[in-house]
Amino acid sequence: MHALIQGVILGILTGGVYALMASGQTLIFGIMKVVNLAQGAMVIMAAYLAYQLFTTFGVDPFLAIPITTILMFGLGVGVELLFLRPLRREDKSELSLLVTFAVALLIEGALSLTWGTTYRSINAGYANSSWTVGSYQITLVRLWAFVLSLVALGLLFWLLNRTRFGRAVRATVQNPESARLLGVDAQWVSALGFGLGAATAAAAGSVYGLLYPFTPGSHYDLISRLLSIVVLGGLGSVGGAVIAGVIVSTSSAIVAATVSPAWSEMTFFVVLILVLLIRPRGLFGSVTRGAI
């Protein structure tokens, strides 16, 4: 029982980070109908940037987030303009999968060329300190990571629901044609939306780097988890991605605590298969033509 509750605490705290990464991914799908297979690689890239800022300039990973956010936003916009925009409309969804996979490989190659393929981790001074509440351990890093994710998600929701840009984005998600008719510049929304999705990877990268050791190849683990979360939440639904992130991360932490950490990875896939069997469009997904 003790292990179970400890697992739940750990899962919820980690779930915030997954929610953040997945919300960026699902946002990109919502706007452009593109499954961004490079989302994991972008998170790992942001983790390396935070690592470099920490080791050479001593910048705290949490404080590095504004810097990495700007860089990742630029990268996202660049990827959209260079590689996704030229695709022809009729086979865009198929080809964009391949393009984003190629971008993931490109990032992986560039990271291994710069930093090598050995595991790195960001050893901030507070990495190992923790609070004990009752008999349960709450690592400080995870708590801060959770708080940060909440703040970042709050910002994202504010941006989507309270600004002109956000309204354009939501309109495009709901109905691209009508949005265009009402004067939304779809190309501009796509580029900025992809940038925004990549920017969520920046904050997630800093946190990921603090929590886990990483190599350039880590993005394979990440992307498979992210995809399960996004499908569970319903492709294109940011709120769904947040809830799914917490659900999946908690159940995986419970499996890790009660069965074995080696099998916690499988929880993601079991959840995915159950979703597909019972409710293929996910918890909060709408029936998008062409997706389901």
Binding site: L87, R88, A102, L113, F269, P280
Partner: protein, 344 residues
């Protein structure tokens, strides 16, 4: 037909020319990738379901053979080859329910589900120590072939498998099945509406496709004689299959083969020239992007279009010479033949 005959003759005679070992080795790999891309083409090219999970079945085939021949000594060395159909059957039987579940979704989500399946298989390969040996890997019996002609048996087995897969592709293109698959790619709802049994057809295509892929995985495992989870279940294998098919031309007979010849030899050259894995990844990704952006339909369909355009222009020129009033040939006759997804 002539093209096919020459192709078979060249494939059969190549090893008799006393080629160097490195070249034969390269040929074996080219054949493996050509077979796998052709099999991927059956479901990804014709039916338009971009599976990213085929490497999982490659690994399933590899580990199936490894399990059967665990701790055995081979008498002739040909036993594993005789078992290949069984391996294919195992792959197809595992593929059947996977297809039934995953093909409830369309293009994007299907790709997601299949790539997650790939990671499931990889996790299993790492975690089921008693079966797979985990990250320490597992050994297969060492092929008792003489060192002088070590590659030759593998080469001929792969030739047979490639010809089998291409024959299957050819037969599919000529049959109602092929037409059903292409109609699913074009518009699945309409296809269902006009009476195509969409679920049966696409699940069948997927099972056959992954069955062949798992057979190639088994040959590969026997050829390498020691397998590790990260190489037996490698996302890069999936990507190679997809990329080769896209480069050569989706939904064509020769496209995947052409793509495999170009990319696999290019890849071996790059690893030899660049050495480091990191630089190789970057170059590979760049080639990948260039192909998709410049040749989104693949080499063969692009060439075919050019030729057709030139032929049509010549015809209209001739027509214009005879009837100066204007072209006598209706311009939309060719659009019918493109419906077949680029006939051979």
């Amino acid at each position: 037909m002539l093209r096919g005959g020459v192709f078979v003759a060249v494939l059969v005679t190549l090893p008799m020319l006393g080629l160097q070992h490195w070249f034969l080795n390269l040929l074996v790999f080219v054949l493996m990738y050509a077979t796998m891309s052709s099999s991927w083409n059956l479901v990804g090219g014709f039916a338009g379901y971009p599976s990213l999970g085929h490497a999982g079945f490659f690994g399933i085939g590899a580990y199936t053979l490894a399990l059967v021949f665990k701790d055995q000594v081979l008498a002739t060395g040909y036993e594993p080859f005789l078992l290949l159909p069984l391996v294919g059957l195992v792959g197809a039987l595992i593929g059947w329910p996977i297809a039934l579940i995953s093909m409830r979704t369309r293009a994007d989500v299907f790709a997601i589900v299949t790539i997650t399946f790939l990671f499931v298989v990889q996790t299993l390969a790492f975690n089921l120590h008693s079966l797979t040996g985990g990250s320490q890997g597992t050994a297969l019996p060492i092929p008792p072939f003489s060192a002088d002609h070590f590659e030759v048996p593998f080469y001929y087995v792969m030739v047979a498998m490639l010809l089998f897969t291409m024959g299957l592709t050819f037969a599919t293109m000529r049959s109602k099945l092929g037409l059903s698959l292409v109609s699913i790619r074009a518009d699945e709802d309409k296809a269902r509406g006009v009476g195509v049994r969409v679920i049966g057809v696409k699940v069948l295509a997927f099972s056959v496709s992954v069955g062949i892929t798992s057979m190639v995985g088994a040959v590969w495992a026997y050829y390498e004689s020691f397998i590790y989870p990260q190489f037996a279940v490698d996302p890069l294998i999936t990507i190679a299959m997809v990329l080769m098919t896209f480069l050569g031309g989706r939904g064509t007979l020769w496209g995947p083969v052409l793509g495999a010849v170009i990319l696999e030899s290019g890849q071996q050259y790059l690893t030899y020239e660049l050495g480091g894995v990191q630089l190789y990844l970057i170059v590979y990704a760049l080639i990948f992007l260039v192909i998709i952006l410049l040749l989104p339909r693949g080499i063969l369909p692009t060439i075919e279009d050019r030729l057709r355009l030139r032929r049509r222009r010549r015809r209209t020129d001739e027509a214009a010479a005879v009837w100066p009033e204007g072209p006598a040939i209706p311009s939309n006759t060719d659009s019918l033949s493109t419906l077949g997804g680029g006939a051979p």
